[in-house]
């Protein structure tokens, strides 16, 4: 019997043990191959004007992805090796040389690697096809691409994973050479010490997190902290403090809380609460690092995903806010298809130069009657009646933190005239391009104001997001100068979507991978512990604890292990997104909550699987 056939038979007979390991390998390969296929798919991406942007994004992301896959594979491999230690010990006891065992494991890894590579690439090919369709949809393109098998992706994936398998095989070798036969005979393991809570570390952890949260939620533009550490330094500082705080939270605060719970005998001495709390306490310190990593990863994923999803969600609203008319341009009207047209108006406005104590800007002066007419056409109820010498300011880019509020002040023009600003609206009736900020005055004042006359065209259309063809039709008839001042809702929407949509795709893809990987890491960790704890649950069963109670305590323990990093991650990201939404002054509450729910739901599925496997493992002991 050759070593190779021994390795092959080993796999064949222990398929169920190997299944988890192979599945996680296949998963990694599928993810990577899919991503690389999309990256190399010139056909589809080259035809788009944003392909370079996306390509850059994808290249960057594939590095992140690879980094992650390496961590993930190292984790699953060490889990797998731990499971097989007994087998290795047995071979060693029977007198097989370490070199030979190592060679056998190496062959085994080779077989596993080859099988998973083939499986992963086949699955990845189909998956990339599906994902590409989603990508195209998210970006708002209507391209149906036929997916061709990408040889570059194949070569890239094979090379990288061959290297990774070599690495994991060497890891296996290391385990064998470090392994001492005496370990096998250590039936009674030295008990691990139960951790003691350090009050200082617990307080420090809480303080770090509190300060990080406080800074993140402070107003970026007025906060002293932000001013002191600058706009670049502060986020770095906050991130650093949050990471340190998270670690201390899991390392010390958790021990503190659990110890307190254990001491509250009126609660802990009831049913299996004692077991649950003690088991958690027993493990938590060893798990502090993993839990912190998972919390930080979750926070990153939720923040990035929530931010991008928020932008995507707001893409339409922000376009409509800046561009209340479907099309607008300076100059004369042009001919175009009149289908779906709601209104097509020609306006006479004046171009103003306005000085104030800070600087000067160019403004558009609009007649009160034109305003009222447009407001009605756009479905706004408000009608203006402005007194002589007064004005209403329309500024869509107004932001209370940077913009000067002119309400109640005098607006001085270059020629010496001035208006009293009665009111200021953040919604306009003219598109920000080309009109900019608009001053509305009554018709008499408009006629009397000495300024350059400008003609502007505004068009409103039904079903405006789909009017790409008309947008192009108009655009092509304009002069170069006019084209610069041409604004179009469908065009802006498409541009925004193309960028944000690809961001969303890459973001959700990576998010999904992170999620799957963090979920799997907890899964592996919890199951390793389950195997170690098997005898404990057997004792409980002998003492007279029924299956239902055991399932309950297991579910409770696993729930804490799962929810602790998730909750911490969600809270972290809530504060990060608060800062994000402030920075871009967007309301992203709804998309962010949707995103968090989706994230938690997938996480929940992992939880259920873990509890089931945990329970199965400890039942084997009875």
């Amino acid at each position: 019997m050759t070593l190779f056939s021994l390795a092959r038979k080993n796999i064949q007979r222990n398929l169920s043990n190997y299944f988890l390991y192979i599945a996680s390998m296949v998963f990694s390969i599928v993810i990577y191959f899919t991503f690389v296929t999309l990256k190399y798919n010139d056909d589809i991406l080259a035809s788009q004007q944003f392909s370079r942007q996306i390509k850059g994004l994808m290249s960057g992301s594939s590095v992140v992805l690879l980094f992650f896959i390496v961590i993930f594979m190292a984790y699953s491999n060490s889990f797998f090796m731990k499971k097989r230690k007994k087998e290795v010990a047995l071979y060693s006891l029977l007198g097989v040389r370490k070199q030979k065992i190592g060679l056998m494991l190496f062959f085994e890894n080779l077989v596993i690697g080859f099988v998973s590579l083939v499986l992963g690439i086949v699955l990845g090919f189909f998956m990339s096809q599906g994902l590409l369709m989603i990508l195209v949809r998210l970006m708002g393109f209507e391209v149906v691409g036929s997916l061709t098998f990408s040889p570059e992706a194949l070569v890239n994936t094979t090379c990288i994973f061959a290297l990774l398998f070599l690495f994991t095989s060497l890891q296996g070798y290391r385990v064998i050479y470090q392994f001492k036969l005496i370990d096998l005979f250590h039936a009674e393991k030295q008990g691990e010490k139960i951790p003691r809570a350090s009050l200082i570390a617990a307080i420090l952890g809480t303080a770090l997190l509190a300060f990080g949260y406080y800074t993140a939620s402070a107003d970026i533009f007025t906060s002293k902290i932000w001013r002191f550490f600058t706009i670049l330094g502060t986020p770095l500082m906050v991130i650093g403090m949050t990471i340190a705080g998270t670690y201390l939270l899991f390392h010390s605060v958790s021990v503190f809380v659990l110890t307190a719970l254990k001491k509250a005998t009126s609660w802990s001495w009831k049913g299996l609460n004692l077991i649950g709390v003690s088991q958690l306490l027993y493990r938590i310190r060893a798990n502090a690092k993993s839990l912190s990593i998972i919390a930080i990863l979750s926070a990153t994923t939720i923040t990035a995903g929530g931010g991008v999803f928020g932008m995507y969600y707001n893409a339409e609203a922000s376009v409509r806010h800046a561009l209340p008319n479907t099309f607008m341009w300076k100059g004369d009207t042009v001919k175009f298809s009149q289908e779906d047209v709601l209104y097509n108006e020609s306006l006479s406005v004046k171009k103003l130069r306005v000085d104030n104590e800070f600087s000067f800007f160019e403004y558009t002066l609009l007649k009160e009657s034109d305003y009222n007419r447009l407001a009605k056409l756009q479905g706004k109820d408000e009608q203006l009646h402005i007194a002589n010498g007064a004005t209403v300011l329309l500024d869509t880019s107004f932001d209370e933190r940077f913009s000067h509020d002119f309400t109640g002040e005098e607006f001085k023009l270059e020629n010496g005239e001035s208006f009293h600003v009665d009111k200021m609206y953040t919604e306009s009736v003219l598109n920000f391009i080309p009109a900019g900020t608009v001053l509305v005055v009554n018709d008499k004042v408009f006629a009397a104001t000495n300024a350059e006359d400008v003609k502007m065209q505004v068009v409103g259309m039904d079903n405006d997001l789909k009017q790409q063809a008309i947008s192009k039709e108009i655009y092509n008839q304009l002069s170069t100068e006019q084209q610069e001042g041409f604004s179009s809702v469908p065009q802006s929407y498409e541009d925004g979507l193309a960028t944000v949509g690809s961001l969303l795709f890459v973001g959700s893809f990576l998010g999904l991978v992170f999620l799957a990987a963090t979920g799997s890491i907890i899964y592996f960790k919890v199951l390793t512990e389950a195997e170690e704890d098997q005898p404990k649950y057997a004792i409980l069963n002998k003492i007279g604890v029924n299956k239902k109670q055991i399932l309950k305590t297991v579910a409770g323990q696993v729930a804490v292990i799962f929810s602790a990093p998730l909750v911490v991650g969600i809270v972290h990201s809530a504060f990060a997104l608060l800062a994000f939404s402030q920075l871009f002054s967007m309301d992203i509450t709804k998309p962010v909550i949707l995103w968090m729910i989706a994230y938690s739901a997938i996480y929940g599925i992992y939880y259920i699987f873990t509890v089931r496997s945990f329970y199965k493992i400890i039942r084997q002991g009875n």
Partner: protein
């Protein structure tokens, strides 16, 4: 008086078809309340199988086991767990303490599972710990105490619920002679003072000499039964050695 434990024609076979192995066959006996019964026999005779079957951890192939007025054969898995919780106590050779719990918490555990109020728990734990002389160790973890102390902790855990019946499976197997004597004396005292019913499996004649009655098992069948009666422990010990010599195979196990 009805017996506390009644075993009728219990049989346990493993395997299927031609490969069956009979571990226990045609075992019948009774144990009265307050008895301290030993079960002896050579390795592989079926001692542990018998104990597991009686302790509801394993189920007999045929036959009936009645504890008090409960027939175990008719109970489901979950009911059996509850029955164990409420009526039985266990002491194992390898202590089976939970190493993430302190000595106190290990003893608390069966009471907590039985949902005894916290105040009552404290009193019970103090009492049993004093009885077994481990009061000073209550806040230590199992890895901090010796084997004998562990076994006394395990015994406290088994007895704290005041079970109807206590099963001990080679409780002195891993102890030195001093610790073993201490433990057996504690069990014997408890049996005298509180009329606890104890059933102990052992292959150690010295340990067995603390019992009032000993059942011998050979090849899965009851072969002999001896009573201590009015003998001293030493005389009983000699009698046990003689019986073991007669049975054969057991002598090497004795010393």
């Amino acid at each position: 008086m009805t017996p506390l434990l009644k075993v009728q024609n219990v049989e346990k076979t493993y395997g299927k078809g031609a490969n069956t192995f009979t571990a226990l066959s045609n075992i019948s006996f009774e144990v009265e309340k307050g008895e301290f019964v030993g079960v002896m026999g050579p390795s592989g005779a079926g001692k542990s199988t018998l104990l597991n079957v009686l302790a509801t951890i394993d189920t007999p192939t045929t036959g009936e086991i009645i504890i008090g007025d409960t027939n175990l054969a008719r109970m489901k898995d979950a009911e059996l767990a509850d029955f164990r919780r409420d009526n039985l106590g266990f002491i194992f050779q390898d202590y089976n303490l939970l190493d993430s719990l302190t000595v106190r918490e290990n003893i608390v555990l069966p009471l907590a599972i039985a949902k005894v109020p916290t105040k009552a728990i404290n009193a019970k734990v103090e009492r049993i710990a004093t009885l077994f002389g481990i009061k000073e160790l209550l806040d230590k973890y199992p890895y901090q105490i010796s084997g004998g102390q562990k076994q006394r902790t395990a015994s406290s855990r088994a007895l704290v619920t005041e079970p109807k019946l206590i099963f001990a499976d080679e409780p002195t197997g891993a102890l030195d002679s001093k610790s073993a004597t201490d433990l057996l004396e504690s069990l014997s005292d408890l049996n005298n003072s509180q009329a606890s019913t104890i059933m102990m499996v052992t292959h150690d004649a010295f340990a067995a000499s603390f019992c009032q009655r000993i059942l011998f098992i050979q090849d899965g069948q009851l072969s002999k039964e001896i009573h201590r009666g009015t003998q001293t422990r030493k005389q009983f010990f000699q009698e046990i050695l003689q019986v073991l010599a007669g049975i054969g195979g057991g002598v090497n196990d004795v010393i």
